[in-house]
């Protein structure tokens, strides 16, 4: 038997085989499936067309409303109403309605549904986030999800795997976001197409779960099918208080061959920025100080977590936003929202002149709450800067970590936080 990596082990288990090899196509049993308010309605539409009457296992389905909440149009409200009816009809117990959850890729791990060794699909491309907890998690389309709802199964092509090994300590204002941006800048937008990415080395073992979620969240921006940080004690501690279900942490066999190993030394990594209009157009923040901004967005499934809000607050404390800049902050979940409130972060944000929204994806996808006008420029902590992503096709989006985004809000131009003048 050949040595198996973590991706192969999970697919082998889920397809009831002893081993699988890259390129092989297997039919696997799905452990968990997730839909949200924008991909859910089309899933239900396809489910009805299939003619299935009951979902395969209501306990394995999680529904989280996050994209257009509270509904921004009558159509959105109508679709959400229809989805609630489907959830009731099918007896799906794990539903996070408006006010109960927040951004799906924060709520799903926060509530303990992402467990090591599991095979998870979500009708959203950033489902890959859950690899931070040792799961094989990947995004699928709505009709594919309808087939999963009906059968509990899906075909997978066993991916080749790239290993990213990082050593060293991140500097004060450099974050996991900067590391993943650097990696995507190096390998390119299609650099990991169809592949798995395994993250090893001291940098990742020292990294918080929040940070690992940020890294795995963005692997799809390099085209990867899934990214995994091998589960360790941190993973187990994180999950202990969140799930009662037992799980078996799987790891790559020692001496596994990877398609390629990329080595990173993060000691000198400076804050990075992905410039318009592709995520691999990455430059150090310090080289972009001539770029003026109109809006800052701090939030999303990439960087709307508690650590991110604390970091932004450490920059914004006792400072005011530049007069030509507006800042939108969206905590990624209700839990993060109340924790940030309790810690006094909101006071800092409000004093700086920012507005705080409910936990929603809204601004990141140009859905609602802060769309951009033609020629406007936004620096955002989210994961995509494509043409028209946050509004007008003539607007521009720069992607950065929360410290860089906050510092840029103060100066009105893209700013490496280390270059901010002392208070």
């Amino acid at each position: 038997m050949h040595k198996l990596n973590i991706f192969e082990k999970i697919l082998a288990r889920a397809s009831k085989r002893k081993e699988v090899v890259p390129g092989e196509i297997v039919e696997a049993n799905i452990d968990m499936a997730m839909i949200h308010d924008l991909t859910g309605p089309l899933t239900v539409h396809s489910f009805r067309k299939i003619g299935a009457s009951k979902v395969w296992d209501p306990k394995k389905i999680v529904v989280i409303f996050d994209h257009l909440i509270p509904p921004s149009t009558i159509l959105a409200a109508t679709l959400q109403k229809g989805l609630r009816e489907f959830i009731k009809e099918q007896g799906i117990p794990t539903f996070y309605d408006i006010g109960q959850g927040g951004v799906c890729h924060q709520v799903f791990p926060e509530e303990g549904y992402a467990r090591p060794g599991e095979l998870i699909v979500g009708a959203d491309s950033h489902t890959c986030t859950y690899g931070a907890l040792g799961a094989f998690a990947t995004g699928i389309g709505s009709t594919e999800m309808a087939a999963v709802f009906a059968t509990g199964k899906m075909w997978f092509k066993v991916p080749k795997v790239i290993r990213i090994n990082a050593e060293g300590n991140l500097k004060k204002y450099s974050t996991p976001k900067d590391l993943i941006l650097k990696i995507i800048g190096d390998i390119g937008e299609g650099g990991a197409i169809y592949k798995g990415m395994e993250f090893t080395g001291q940098t990742f073992s020292k990294m918080s779960i929040d940070g690992r979620l940020t890294v795995c969240n963005m692997v799809v921006e390099a085209g990867a099918k899934a990214g995994i940080v091998p589960p360790d004690n941190k993973t187990i501690t994180y999950l202990k208080k969140r799930t009662k279900k037992s799980f078996k942490p799987l790891k790559s066999d020692k001496g596994t061959d990877f398609e390629e190993t990329l080595e990173y030394d993060v000691n000198k990594l400076a804050p990075q920025v992905a410039c318009p209009s592709s995520v691999d157009n990455v430059k150090p923040a310090s080289e972009l100080s001539n770029v003026k901004i109109d809006q800052v967005f701090i939030g999303s499934c990439t960087n709307g977590r508690l650590e991110d809000l604390r970091l932004a607050a450490s920059i914004l404390k006792n400072r005011k936003l530049h007069r030509d800049v507006r800042m939108i902050i969206s905590p990624a979940s209700q839990i993060i929202y109340s924790q940030a409130l309790k810690e006094g972060l909101f006071k800092i944000f409000l004093n700086a002149g920012a507005i705080i929204t409910n936990a929603t994806c809204g601004p990141c996808l140009g859905g609602h709450m802060g769309l951009l006008a033609p020629k406007e420029v936004c620096i955002a902590t989210s994961n995509r800067n494509f043409i028209g992503r946050m509004g007008s096709p003539e607007s521009k989006v720069y992607l950065a970590n929360p410290a860089t985004a906050a510092a840029s809000g103060i100066t009105g131009q893209i700013t490496d936080p280390k270059n901010l003048r002392r208070r």
């Binding site: 196509i25 539409h45 003619g51 709505s142 009709t143 197409i193 859905g367 028209g388």
Partner: protein, 165 residues
């Protein structure tokens, strides 16, 4: 399965946000979605696609968001088939699942010019460029993917599976 149409060319990394912007994700009807296909990138596309076209893309076609509304919008606009150097995996699966043929074809962007008339023989992986009197051979689709397309996509396929149980 033979498909004929005029080539409409795009470059590398065409993402699903430009294929169908987020503000239209509430739509489900293919025709409605089709009215907005690629509007941010090429406002003339929708009009040109109406006659039935074949998209010729570069590398990593359909990257980004998992929105199935992207291939639905292309199909709704009149796209008969997408040929590309490579596809982003979610887009590829979505296209096949909704019955929009997608074929990976190394070198296609060099061999085809905008407006060339193409004939795609899906069964044999053969692309004939009628304008240039030239042809390109590519790998054939795996049999079960070809089967899905012949059945009209994933919905009729799963309907059949459930019916048998």
């Amino acid at each position: 399965m033979n498909i004929e149409g005029k080539a409409v060319k795009f470059g590398d990394n065409i993402n699903t946000d430009v294929i169908l912007p987020g503000k239209y994700l509430e739509l489900i009807d293919p025709e409605e979605l089709g009215k907005h296909a690629l509007e941010g990138l090429d406002p003339t596309f929708v009009q040109r696609a109406r006659e039935g076209v074949i998209i010729v893309g570069g590398k990593n076609f359909g990257c980004g968001s998992s929105r199935e509304q992207a291939p639905i919008a292309l199909k709704g606009a009149g796209v008969k088939c997408v040929l590309a150097e490579s596809f982003a995996r979610i887009f590829y699966r979505n296209a096949i699942n909704i019955g929009l043929p997608a074929l990976e074809c190394d070198g296609i962007s060099k061999e085809v010019d905008e407006g060339d008339i193409l004939m795609v023989d899906l069964q044999n992986g053969l692309i004939e460029n009628k304008t240039k009197n030239d042809s390109l051979q590519t790998a054939t689709l795996p049999p079960f993917i070809m089967g899905l397309l012949e059945e009209g996509g994933l919905i009729p396929h799963v309907r059949g599976l459930i019916g048998k149980q």
